[in-house]
Every structure is written in structure tokens, then in C-alpha cells.
């Protein structure tokens, strides 16, 4: 089953489209990385998935139902918002009570244990916690309701490296323990590389590429060799990114078959390079490319 399925999903504010033509079928049991620059539409997509936003056009189903369709569907999805939202004047213990009161599936034991392991003082007001502690509190709240899907919007953006590693560690431990699906967004692929096995690249309100990381890495290659005209490439090779000097051409291509041309030196592509290539492809408009394919 697909945890999230969208068909032609779009969201507009007035005349500006925050997200458009979004068609995805995300399988369950994965840690999904949603990557894109700020303003690309990641928060919009996650807002649509949690039911906090309503689509302008197209459809989205989460765990088979419309988002926020009822309390049963809401119970299945946990959400950690960007700049984690907690009630500043309520204590940590109050937040756990909030979780217990509002979620029939609440695992109080898990929540208490996690708070203890994190070293949070139950009597401390959430507003006086550090950024990392607030993020961990929000994650605890989302996890303890025992959802089938966890959605996190830029959860580590404002955390220092140690807090970042701790956050991801806690998250992955829960995934290992309970096999839930996770969707994580970030504007840095470096944050997500360790943990994602499914990738979506979102740039300028459109999905550029989506798929399992292992398949994406297997389907992309870096080719470097003497300078040549791109029209001589075989049909199955789609150029994602190109750069030329007067003597050399370096391409990042997407292909289903092995590259047999001996003129090319073929090397694998790292996830970071792949994401950067699709991001810069999105920024190139056709007008910037001359017939010989020289990037300006």
C-alpha cells in the first residue's frame, strides 16, 4: 500500500502556486527524504498531507484516506512542524498529558521513558527548553501516539550537529522498533543522506524526481570525456546536468542501460550530487541553453 498518493496535486495562494502538478506514489515502510530549497513547496506538501492545508486542485490520500478525514485517520499520522510548535507556557508533563487526552492510542510508558532518557525535566516549561530539547519533545509527542506514518518538516534545521545526530538516532530507533514510515523534509541533503531510502526532490513548486534511493543511484552516472555535441548521445540517456570546457565535457545522465561508449569515463554519482544536479536543472530555463548545450 502507498502511504501517500497524490494525483495532480496543487496548492495556490491567490495567483502564486506553492505546489503544482504533484503526482507521487510513496510506498510504505520507507524513510522518505523530501529535499528542496527554501520556498520550494516542501512545507506546503507536508501541510496538505497532514490536512492542515486544503488542496486547490488534484487529490491526495494518506494511508488510503483523505488527510484529517476523521479521528481514526488523524491517529495514524504524527506530525512535527517546522520550528517545532509546543505550548510555551505549558510544562513538559502538561504536553504528555495533552498527548494522553487527545490520542486514544497513546503509549504513556514510551513517552515517559523517552523523556527520561532525554533528560528533560517534566516540570520545565516548554518555552524555556533549548531548540534541540523542543524538537525532541515534539518528536516524543508524535511517536507516542503510535502512528503508522511520521511527518517531520525540517526537524533538524535549527539544531546543532550533536542535537541533529541525537534526533535522527531516536527517530531511527523507533523506525527499527516499529517499522513505521517516515517523511522528512530538509533543504540540505546532507541531513538526510544517512537515513533516507526514498527521495523526492522538490524545486520551484514542482517534483523533479522521486524514487527509491538505491534505484536512483543505480540509474544515474557521471560521464566525463572529450568535448562533444550532446546530439550524438544515444536515445536512452537523458542529460540532467552538463558542463563543458573547451576540451572536456562532463555530464550527469539518467539511463536504464550500461554505458558502453569507451570515450567516456563512467563514475557513480553520490546522492548529494544527484540532488544538486536536479536542483540546478530546475533553475536552468531553456533560453539559457544554446544548441550546442553550453551552460551559460
Amino acid at each position: 500500500m502507498n502511504i501517500i498518493q497524490t494525483i495532480g496535486l496543487g496548492k495556490a495562494y491567490g495567483r502564486t502556486w506553492a505546489l503544482r502538478d504533484c503526482t507521487l506514489a510513496i510506498p510504505e515502510g520507507h524513510v522518505v527524504g523530501l529535499v528542496g530549497p527554501n520556498g520550494a513547496g516542501k512545507t506546503t506538501l507536508l501541510g496538505l498531507a497532514t490536512g492542515l492545508l486544503a488542496p486547490t486542485c488534484g487529490t491526495i490520500t494518506v494511508l488510503g484516506e483523505r488527510p484529517a478525514a476523521g479521528s481514526a485517520q488523524l491517529a495514524q499520522v504524527g506530525f512535527v512542524a517546522q520550528d517545532t510548535s509546543v505550548y510555551a507556557r505549558m510544562t513538559v508533563a502538561d504536553h504528555l498529558r495533552l498527548g494522553a487526552w487527545l490520542n486514544p492510542g497513546w503509549d504513556g510508558e514510551l513517552a515517559r521513558r523517552r523523556i527520561g532518557e532525554l533528560g528533560l525535566d517534566p516540570k520545565q516549561r516548554a518555552g524555556s527548553l533549548s531548540g534541540g530539547q523542543r524538537a525532541q519533545l515534539a518528536l516524543t509527542l508524535a511517536m507516542a501516539k503510535r502512528p503508522g506514518l511520521l511527518i517531520l518538516d525540517e526537524p533538524v534545521a535549527s539544531l546543532d550537529p550533536l542535537a541533529r545526530r541525537e534526533f535522527l538516532r531516536g527517530l531511527m530507533e523507533t523506525v527499527a522498533e516499529r517499522g513505521l514510515s517516515v517523511v522528512l523534509s530538509s533543504h540540505l541533503i546532507g541531513d538526510l543522506e544517512r537515513v533516507c531510502d526514498y527521495l523526492i526532490v522538490l524545486v520551484a513548486s514542482r517534483v523533479r524526481i522521486a524514487g527509491e534511493v538505491s534505484e536512483l543511484l543505480a540509474a544515474h552516472r557521471r560521464l566525463s570525456g572529450p568535448r562533444r555535441d550532446l546530439r550524438t548521445l544515444p536515445a536512452g540517456q537523458e542529460v540532467v546536468e552538463e558542463s563543458h570546457t573547451d576540451r572536456q565535457t562532463v555530464l550527469l545522465i539518467r539511463t536504464g542501460e550500461p554505458v558502453n561508449d569507451p570515450a567516456w569515463t563512467v563514475t557513480p554519482v553520490s546522492l548529494e550530487d544527484l540532488v544538486l544536479a536536479y536542483m540546478s536543472q530546475a533553475n536552468d530555463t531553456p533560453a539559457r541553453r544554446s544548441p550546442l548545450g553550453v551552460a551559460s
Binding site: L52, L53, L74, A75, A81, L98, G99, L102, G105, A142
Partner: protein, 340 residues
């Protein structure tokens, strides 16, 4: 959800309880002397209306001799106007606006409770609490003022009676309706504006406007007004020139009633020429007196009699409750269509 609502409401609840305790103590403590004066005045047993009017007037003069009582009476009425306004601003406006402003809705609306249920419990529980506490305030203050209100109803010209615009919404059950209305108004303003302080400002402005509109445009017509014609007495007569005639009006007094419209007539003729020279009124000279008497001047009054006090209270409360429900409906609509 109920427990969460109560937890989030803790501070406001304590403040309300403390205010109620303070008010209750003050008014309870000052009531016995008032009760004593009232029983001593004999108003309770009076039958003939002339007698009652006189007894009521002397009772009120006696009460006024102690400077504290008029102040307490006025304070009581003022409190009953302020309580709904404060509820609207401090219970209603932050209800949704704060969640939107602080962005905590992203936590609140992603638990296992639908937005509809979340709002229904918050509006319902706190709306009922608003009505209950306002009811308690009104119970204490109306009960405290009841001797004075009874005396004024019997026809003292010194004290305005409880039917009159400034006092009507200060006693009885009407404040309960206004509390519900102000609360719903605050919540809706918060939902539509999305920020607490502007929502508070809008709430108080609209609430004040409604408090001006109701007595002037709505309340007179809630029950078709009673009409009567009274003679203008020489001692009370006033006139202004209109064309070549005089518009003559006087003072009207109907015990315990709210007279909201007095219309005099324009009189013409020879008597008018005489009256135009009477600068001190009809009593200046005997000639003025007989010229005035020949007119048999009358006024048409539109009024709500004292007997309609509770029906008017009931209708106005029903209207404010209906407005509150309509506003609540707008709240639900806005929340469900969130977010922009």
C-alpha cells in the same frame, strides 16, 4: 479534549473566580443595611399607587444619604456591562487567535481529535462557563439592587428605573446572553483575523456598538410599543416655534416604564400669540395660564410598561444567544476551511 480545554483555561478561570469572590463579598456585606431600610420603608406592604410612589421616593432619598449606595448601584450596573466585554476580549479573542498566532494549531490539529470536535468542545465548554459566571455575577448584583429597583419601578422620578437603556442590560438575565454573544464574537474575530490583540480590539469595538444599537433601534420594537396620550401640565410645559405655531411638550412620567418617544403637537391660533410673549412659561401671568389651558395640550407617548420587563429581557437574551450561535457557525466554517 475537555480536560485540555480546562487546563488551557486555568489562568482565566482563577481570575474569574477571584473577581467573583471579591464582588460577592462586597455586595453581600453591604446588603443588610439596605434590606433594613427597605423593610422599614413600608414599600413592601403598600397598596395604593400614590402611597407607594411617596414611600418609594422617601426610601430612595434615605438610601442616597449614604454616599456608598449610589456608587455601589452604579458599580453593579457597570460590572454587568464589563463582564461580557472582558469575557469577549480575554476568553473569546485569544481562543483561536492565539493558536494561530503562536502556530500551536500545528500541534493541536494533528492529534487524534478532529478540528470540529476541538472547536466544539472549546466553544461549548467555555461558552457555557461564560454564561454561568455572568449569571452568578448578575444574580448577586440584581439581588443586591432589588430593593432599589422595586422602589424605582413604583415611580420615583429621582432614580432611573431598570427598564431604561443604561440599566436594562445591567440586571437580570440579559447579561448572560451578552456574555455568550461577546464570547462568540471574540472567538470569531480571532478566527478571522488570526492575531490576538487586533481581535481583542475588534471585539470591544463591535460589542460597544451593539450595546448602542440595541437600546436605540431594537429594544423599542421587540414588543410593539404601548401608546398613550397625556395632558401637558402647565408647570412642565415647554415650547419651540415651528412655522407660526408652537410645538408644545412637557414632562411625562409613567411609573416604572421606559418612555422612548414623546411627541408633542404643533398648536396654532390666537392663544399661541399670547403664549409667545410668556417668557417664563404658562405660569408667568394669569393671562398666560388661561391661554395655555384653552389649548388642552397633549403629548403622545410611546413606551414599554414596567410589566414588560421580563418578556423584554427574555426576547433580548434570545436575540443575543441567536447571534452567538450564528457567530459560532462562522467560526466552524472558517476553521474547517483553514488555512490560507
Amino acid at each position: 479534549m475537555i480536560r485540555l480545554t480546562l487546563r488551557q483555561f486555568r489562568t482565566q478561570a482563577w481570575i474569574a473566580a477571584a473577581a467573583l469572590a471579591a464582588i460577592a463579598t462586597t455586595f453581600l456585606v453591604t446588603r443588610p443595611p439596605l434590606s433594613n431600610m427597605y423593610s422599614a420603608s413600608g414599600i413592601a406592604a403598600c397598596q395604593a399607587s400614590n402611597d407607594c410612589g411617596r414611600l418609594a421616593a422617601s426610601f430612595i432619598i434615605q438610601v442616597r444619604a449614604d454616599a456608598a449606595y449610589p456608587v455601589l448601584y452604579a458599580a453593579g450596573v457597570l460590572i454587568m456591562f464589563l463582564v461580557p466585554a472582558i469575557i469577549g476580549m480575554f476568553w473569546g479573542a485569544p481562543l483561536i487567535a492565539r493558536e494561530l498566532e503562536d502556530r500551536t494549531y500545528r500541534l493541536a490539529w494533528t492529534q487524534s481529535v478532529t478540528r470540529t470536535r476541538w472547536l466544539a468542545v472549546k466553544l461549548g465548554l467555555l461558552g457555557l462557563a461564560a454564561m454561568a459566571i455572568t449569571g452568578l455575577f448578575s444574580l448577586i448584583i440584581t439581588w443586591w439592587a432589588s430593593p432599589l429597583d422595586r422602589a424605582a419601578t413604583l415611580g420615583s422620578p429621582i432614580l432611573a428605573n431598570r427598564m431604561m437603556p443604561l440599566l436594562f442590560a445591567g440586571h437580570g438575565i440579559v447579561p448572560i446572553g451578552y456574555a455568550a454573544f461577546a464570547f462568540a464574537l471574540g472567538a470569531t474575530a480571532g478566527a478571522l483575523i488570526g492575531r490576538t490583540v487586533p481581535a481583542m480590539a475588534v471585539t470591544i469595538v463591535i460589542f460597544a456598538a451593539v450595546q448602542l444599537i440595541m437600546p436605540n433601534f431594537v429594544r423599542p420594537h421587540l414588543i410593539p410599543a404601548a401608546h398613550t396620550t397625556v395632558a401637558v401640565s402647565a408647570g412642565d410645559a415647554n415650547w419651540v416655534a415651528v412655522g407660526n405655531g408652537l410645538l408644545i411638550t412637557g414632562k411625562a412620567a409613567i411609573p416604572g416604564a421606559w418612555i422612548f418617544s414623546e411627541s408633542g403637537h404643533v398648536y396654532t391660533g390666537p392663544a399661541i400669540q399670547i403664549l409667545k410673549t410668556c417668557y417664563n412659561g404658562p405660569t408667568s401671568t394669569p393671562a398666560c395660564g388661561s391661554a395655555f389651558a384653552s389649548l388642552h395640550a397633549q403629548m403622545l407617548l410611546a413606551y414599554q410598561p414596567a410589566s414588560r420587563y421580563w418578556p423584554l429581557q427574555a426576547y433580548e437574551t434570545a436575540i443575543t444567544l441567536a447571534l452567538a450561535l450564528a457567530l459560532a457557525g462562522i467560526c466552524f466554517w472558517k476553521i474547517r476551511r483553514r488555512l490560507g
